[in-house]
Amino acid sequence: MPDPARMELSLTVNGERRTVSVAPMARLLDVLREALGLTGTKEGCGEGECGACAVILDGELVNSCLVVAAQARGAAVTTVEGLLADGEPGALQRAFVAHGAAQCGICTPGMLVAARCFLDGGAPATGEAVREAIAGNLCRCTGYVKIVEAIQDAAGMEGGAGGGAAVPEGRALAASGGAGSGGGSGGGDGLGPPAAGRP
């Protein structure tokens, strides 16, 4: 007899197929942290306000405290642990270190995931675009400036679509002008967003 209060949940986490038995209304956050032991993802508010629990679900940034297990069936999830490339931190994480963009570190996993999602989207890494991309991630320590700079640097180092536009503030370390690939897709990103930063 299947127990209605438990479900077999199969999903792909950081490229690996995983199956766990969980309560269907368990939060994806708890599935990751408790059932799968991936404690990089943090819980801040549990209400969608802080972004500490951010993960990438089927290519989209989500707050894992607002997604339940049943909604993640068969999905592909990337957590901060999945941002390692061959077990090593990539340009983004190294830029965070170089800029001192982490202090207490609670917001850092969510920031990295939100930044990864933004960089993968290929939009130019202008200060405004970066601030909008991390607008749902609260940091009580850094004041955001170093975080924004680190993400812009990473965009330059990765030499993607962001390259050219990442430098208006003259900061990218290695902005060798990896001339605009990406960027052109899905016109939605060109729609002038309101200034999304917080004070």
């Binding site: 209605p4 209060a5 479900m7 309560a23 269907p24 209304m25 368990a26 939060r27 549990g46 209400e47 969608g48 972004g51 951010a54 989209e60 940034l61 989500v62 707050n63 405290c65 607002l66 997604v67 339940v68 049943a70 909604q71 069936r73 939100a114 999602c117 909008e132 991309a133 607008a135 749902g136 991630n137 899905g186 016109g187 939605g188 990103d189 729609l191 002038g192 967003p193 309101p194 200034a195 999304a196 917080r198 004070p199």
Partner: protein
């Protein structure tokens, strides 16, 4: 304990309607979960939840399309979908614009138009726009479909016209005609990602210095998103000039029923709503600005 509540995740409307026909006790619909789970995580109303119907993957409800001058947006269209949708940006740019001012990316990626409507908060950002735009809501369930003007969907504070076995399926909105505009202003604590403290939307055609086809709606000033008929009557067919602006201000201040809560006082809301309406009408008198009109 909520974690023991059964969840039925459906991938088609037929499956959803089959479950709704059984009317399980304490059934709650789950879409993007941005309101539902924030409430659950805060422990609000848990005891009333007996069974969860997860519709988040019903592809039939996730679309936007424009045909014959009618824009249709499925209940599961996310804010990100609305912001990117070519039909929405063409037929009702204000809806695409406001979608970008709701929460941050992670909320926009999950939060849906239907969830915003069914949550029925007087501060829901899409709601005054839908009411001012003259949207029709299409509700459906095992007993069939019915249609309601958006303003009749909202019955009382967080209470909608949905029956226990009904879903909101889509909103249908007449596309802006040439010369017509829909302008809105959300007043929050900062430019984006904050819950509105005052919200006004105006749909109208301005020609020869006069407005016609005027529809006005306001958020945050009554238990429900409110259609402001007195203000509409004050503006309809009149010349767009200072005397009219003051008459419209008086009309809207007289008909709204704001309350004081932790975000603003009633008096502040009344004054700001009047001011915002005047600004929007002044804007209609001038040339189109970006974000209002294509």
């Amino acid at each position: 304990m909520l974690s023991c509540v059964p969840v039925t995740s459906v991938s088609s409307l037929a499956e959803a309607f089959a479950l709704l026909a059984d009317r399980p006790r304490g059934l709650r619909v789950l879409a993007g979960g941005t309101d539902f789970l924030a409430q659950v995580n805060a422990g609000v109303g848990l005891e009333r939840i007996g069974h969860v119907l997860d519709i988040s993957r019903v592809g039939e409800l996730r679309f936007t399309r424009l045909s014959g001058g009618l824009l249709a947006a499925g209940a599961l269209a996310t804010f990100t979908d609305l912001a990117r949708s070519a039909p929405v940006r063409q037929a009702l740019p204000a809806l695409a614009q406001v979608a970008r001012e709701i929460g941050a990316r992670a909320i926009q990626n999950r939060g849906t138009l239907g969830g915003n409507a069914c949550n029925a908060s007087p501060a829901g950002d899409t709601l005054p726009i839908l009411v001012a735009a003259g949207a029709t809501f299409v509700l459906g369930g095992p007993r069939g479909e019915r249609r309601l003007p958006a303003e009749e969907f909202f019955l009382a504070y967080r209470k909608t016209a949905l029956a226990a076995d009904e879903l909101l399926l889509r909103a249908e909105i007449p596309a802006l005609a040439p010369g017509e505009r829909l302008a809105y202003r959300k007043v929050g604590t900062r430019a984006a990602q904050s819950i509105a403290r005052a919200f006004v939307a105006v749909r109208a055609a301005a020609a020869g210095g006069r407005c016609s086809g005027v529809r006005i709606a306001a958020g945050c000033v009554a238990p429900v998103p409110m259609r402001c008929r007195a203000a509409e009557a004050a503006v309809e067919g009149r010349a767009l000039e200072p005397a009219l602006f003051e008459a419209a201000r008086g009309a809207i201040e007289g008909e709204i029923r704001p309350i004081t809560d932790l975000r603003a006082t009633a008096e502040w809301r009344r004054r700001v709503t009047g001011n915002v309406l005047v600004r929007l009408l002044e804007g209609l008198a001038g040339p189109p600005r970006s974000g209002e009109d294509s």
